[in-house]
Amino acid sequence: MRAQISERTLRTDRWWLSPLLTVAGLGLISVYAAIRTFMNDYYWVSEYHYLTPMYSPCLSAECVPAASHFGQPLPELPGFLTPPIFIIPFLLGFRITCYYYRKAYYRAAWMSPPACAVAEPHKTYTGETKAPLIAQNLHRYFFYAASLLLLVNIYDAITAFVGEKGFGIGLGNIILLVNVGLLAAYTASCHSCRHIMGGKLKHFSKHPVRYWMWQKISKLNAKHMQLAWASLIFVCLTDLYIALVASGVIGDLRIVN
């Protein structure tokens, strides 16, 4: 028999604040991403060759041809479907199965638990032992896919230095670079990455290079939550900047040419 305490929690601090902020933050970003996905416009600044990461790679026949850095192997999409539909499953899958985001939405959205030592509202609990949550174990495959997409984003950011008038540098270039920097840091700090690169080894002493990588990744990994938020928010800001420039609302701030 446990001690009879009827309160759901005796915590006196604002334990509800962090789940509330998480839900609000993720909710806002989802709404923004959905709007931009279905907008199907303003993703490419032809003058400076800026392509938003949300539409990269643009692989279907309806893309602005110059924005399709890797050709258009896919047909035009019917109805309301737009080019990001091909990359969203991988990007969303990567974030949804991410160990940090799992913690975030299990707590904030599913309230399992809402905060430490605050009782959850569910009668039964099976964790990640049954479908569909057992699929969280596939995170590493999303990590591989996201790494490939990151290479595409890096390629986009580099080629953006050459626009219609030749080489130039604008604020957009700097934003694109910071964006891929944050995405790279987030991806490299992934727990699956940490495991694959070295964590799975039993004898670090036999694999000095992988041990070295594991140590570096472990340092980044300790900041995985911060990198998850920073990269997510910055992708949206990057997209917003490019949308504003592409639609002519603002001009790109040019530094060189």
Binding site: T9, T12, H139
Partner: protein
């Protein structure tokens, strides 16, 4: 300077109980355990509380202070305001014995379920040779003082008594990880972590790491690495397909 502090302490046993109000003197530099001791000495001589070292090293004085699992001896009174009422309750997850003392034998049962260190057959004790970088990861886990605050906080069993059977809890999943990462252990513990010790029930919400007084990164360094090892062995679709086609046992 001392002041009169307001406290609510859970008193009772398995037949029932509740929170009782007390006003107790608090002096500068004291921890919650000091106040509990003063309460015991001056007003409630039969108040049950478990403690030993008063230095955060024996893991005996685990309880919940204002709803948060903590060590009584490591919670400074200076973290509260003078007017605040401080609520002290026993750990919720374990059966109550009396007042602030719970029966933590669940944890000893779980500890016994984990097969002990299994060295290579051809090595006798005294012949073990290991490099520091190979044992480092396991050493973090050996800082554990067995306070069982992580076990108390983990919602898998805190909120679901019925999961106690299947779930070893963060402390003992960490023990499995410690052995699995040990350079000389040949126990092969990955599949058992999932199937016997209930690793799949953990949803990596990190409350164990939040409460650990030794600041062990239980989730990041033990539980998630174990989940990744389990994924290697059990949830790799390539391996799974191979098993289906060739009807192998993994």
């Amino acid at each position: 300077m001392g002041y009169q502090g307001n406290f609510r302490v859970w008193r009772g046993d398995e037949d029932g109980g509740g929170l009782e109000d007390f006003t107790v003197e608090v002096n500068e530099g004291e921890v919650v355990l000091d106040v509990i001791h003063r309460l015991q000495a001056t007003q409630a001589g039969d108040l049950a509380v478990r403690w030993n070292c008063k230095a955060g090293k024996c893991g005996s004085c685990s309880a919940e202070i204002n709803g948060r699992p903590r060590l009584l001896c490591m919670t400074r009174m200076s973290t509260f305001t003078e007017g605040e009422t401080i609520t002290i309750t026993p750990m919720r997850t374990f059966p109550i014995i009396r007042d602030l003392v719970t029966d933590v034998s669940f944890n000893y049962t779980k500890a016994r379920e984990i097969p002990s260190f299994k060295p290579p057959k051809d090595l006798a004790p005294g012949e073990y040779r290991m490099q520091q970088i190979d044992v480092e990861r396991s050493q973090e886990f050996r800082k554990c003082i067995e306070c069982f605050l992580c076990q108390d906080t983990c919602h898998v069993i805190r909120d679901h008594e019925e999961n106690k059977e299947a779930f070893a809890g963060p402390r003992f999943l960490m023990r499995v990880a410690e052995l699995e990462m040990h350079p000389l252990d040949e126990g092969g513990r990955t599949v058992a972590a999932q199937e016997t010790h209930g690793l799949g029930l953990c949803n990596i919400t990190k409350c164990c790491s939040e409460v650990c007084p030794e600041h062990i990164k239980i989730t990041d360094n033990a539980l998630i690495p174990m989940k990744e090892r389990v994924a290697d062995r059990k949830y790799d679709p390539v391996v799974w397909l191979g098993n289906k086609i060739f009807r192998r046992q993994s």
